[in-house]
């Protein structure tokens, strides 16, 4: 019996992670909320709630509804704003021994640029994840991430403004995700994360009303995993930069699907709500898998898809 523990360490966009498991933005607060339930230092990284230039109040309620093996949410990107984040939330990160990835978004190109510049001056933030699933209010509300030229424009701008590793998070609500993936790679992204939620709708048949006030919401959870694995696979094939897989991961086996199609790391979202310790179980499960398969390094699994 080999008593040496297998290595789970991976490298994504120049970030050295002790394991490939991190929370998905918006499902883990600013990290601190879950500290009573798990040791944050055991995670590969922490990913913050999506931040914007100004504080954002979010959508009316109800904002969430459970659906079969998933949930719809229309939180409306409620967040404290970049300044309050830096003043109020960042100090907590000083004692941590795991990288902090700040997720952010904007409604105009200028907003994206401004937040990126502010994050440059925050040493506690190791890398940023750019959420481009937002409408550009100055251009008729077209979602940045659904059009290659708009995606390219915003990534180019942030790349110029930012001196940290840049992960770009893609929306699945597109005809061909590989087109967007190539566009953001060309524009200077260091890594891609995918997928964000899939737009959905659910109706209360008794009241005839949508179950969430915003009418539509983003579907997440196990229901979207096959779509997410497929898109991760496509993106891995399309680009050379590392890919982080997201969507419906609840256990080690789910995470392995993404790693096998070539994701260098994974993010866990909705599963945190079901079990606050889900990520720890996933990390332990990955290690067990390596042991059971007689492997010494998680990198032997990454991209091991057989077709």
């Amino acid at each position: 019996m080999n008593s040496i523990r297998p290595s789970l360490a991976v490298e994504v966009a120049g970030l050295k992670l002790k394991n490939p498991v991190m929370p998905a933005s918006g499902t883990f607060g600013y990290g601190e909320e879950y500290a009573p339930y798990l040791d944050l230092n055991r995670l590969g990284a922490i990913v913050t709630k999506g931040l914007s230039r100004n504080p954002k109040a979010g959508n009316p309620t109800p904002r969430i509804a459970e659906t079969t093996s998933g949930m719809l949410n229309a939180i409306g990107l409620q967040n404290v704003g970049i300044d309050a984040f830096i003043a109020g939330k960042v100090p907590y990160y000083r004692g941590l021994q795991t990288p902090v990835i700040a997720n952010f978004f904007g409604n105009t190109l200028e907003e994206y640029g401004e937040v990126a510049r502010k994050l440059n001056d925050v040493p506690e933030v190791t890398a940023v994840e750019l959420n481009i699933s937002c409408p550009n209010v100055k251009q008729g509300g077209i979602v940045f991430g659904t059009e290659a030229s708009a995606a390219s424009q915003v990534v180019t701008l942030v790349r110029q403004a930012l001196n940290k590793p840049l992960i770009v998070k893609l929306t699945p609500n597109v005809t061909d995700i590989t087109v967007i993936a190539r566009a953001v790679e060309e524009a200077g992204a260091d890594a891609i994360s995918c997928i964000n939620t899939i737009t959905g709708m659910a109706i209360d048949v008794r009241t005839r009303k949508p179950k969430i006030a915003n009418r539509t919401g983003g579907l997440s959870g196990p229901a979207i995993r096959p779509v997410a694995v497929r898109m991760t696979h496509q993106v891995v094939q399309a680009v050379k930069i590392p890919v982080i897989g997201i969507g419906g991961i609840t256990c080690a086996e789910d995470a392995l699907e993404f790693l096998i199609v070539g994701a260098k790391a994974v993010q866990v979202g909705t599963a945190n709500f079901i079990d606050p310790q889900a990520m720890l179980a996933i990390i332990a499960g990955l290690e067990q898998f390596l042991v059971a398969e007689g492997l010494s390094d998680i990198n032997q699994v990454i991209g091991s898809l057989k077709i």
């Binding site: 918006g26 499902t27 883990f28 607060g29 909320e33 879950y34 009573p36 339930y37 709630k49 109040a57 979010g58 309620t61 109800p62 904002r63 969430i64 509804a65 459970e66 079969t68 093996s69 998933g70 949930m71 949410n73 939180i75 409620q78 959870g221 196990p222 909705t270 945190n272 709500f273 079901i274 079990d275 606050p276």
Partner: protein, 287 residues
Amino acid sequence: MKNYATIVLANQEISPSIFRMRILAPGFAAAAQPGQFVMLRPALALPTMLRRPFGVFRTGCLPPECDGLPPREYMEILYKVVGQGTKILSELHQGDRIELLGPLGRGFDLGPPGQEKILVGGGIGLVPLFMLGEALVAQGSRVRLLMGGRTRDDILAVTEFERSGVETYVSTDDGSLGEAGFVTKVLERKLSKYPQAEVFACGPTPMLTAVAAICAARQVNLQVSLEAHMACGVGACLGCVVKGAGHSESTPRYLCTCKAGPVFQASDLDWGKATAEAAINCGGGCK
């Protein structure tokens, strides 16, 4: 072939990880040809995924019994079956596994001891008032509990409340138990008698709105316990927000029910323009 809705008669592990299952299937043998197969699925409702929030009713401790086990602490919830999640809960048996996260959120502020305290509970909203009543009695306050419901079936655990040292006043909309009418009528009467009392309420929104209007009009301090759809329960998802005082379209102010609540000072909340009329029009019926 036939679509059976049937039961498992036996399901035994006959060798490590190998099970033999016997299923009740009248008429099957006569129809079955060698080499045929069946399609099976457990007849369970699709398990719900997210946790459901429930108030803590009370806690306790089982003494060491004849089974010789050490004393076992427990907590209790009282819940009403309203949908799939609560239905599945209701079908659990002794020994079935369950996952519990908590205690979570911000509870009641007991306020100064030795005071008149009025508790208003509508239907299942009684739940969080039990431990509150106990604590208030322990701090030397006089506690009156107004229990409201649509019918007698909504009035729960009266003796248990009484044993804890609170005075109970029951009212039902249909008069099937206690006084006939809305619990808010009883509240108005008690507040006329004890205008310095502090009020604590939990129940359906129309009742809470009416209670808030009554207390605001009399300038009586009120704490309410709210319900909201929740995914995480720990302040991470921001799914559970309610409108705070001063909320408007242009300056929205949302508070997290799971973190800032579920108990709020009524004055911290936005009760909408309906508040003033609510007491008169709906009477706070426990609809």
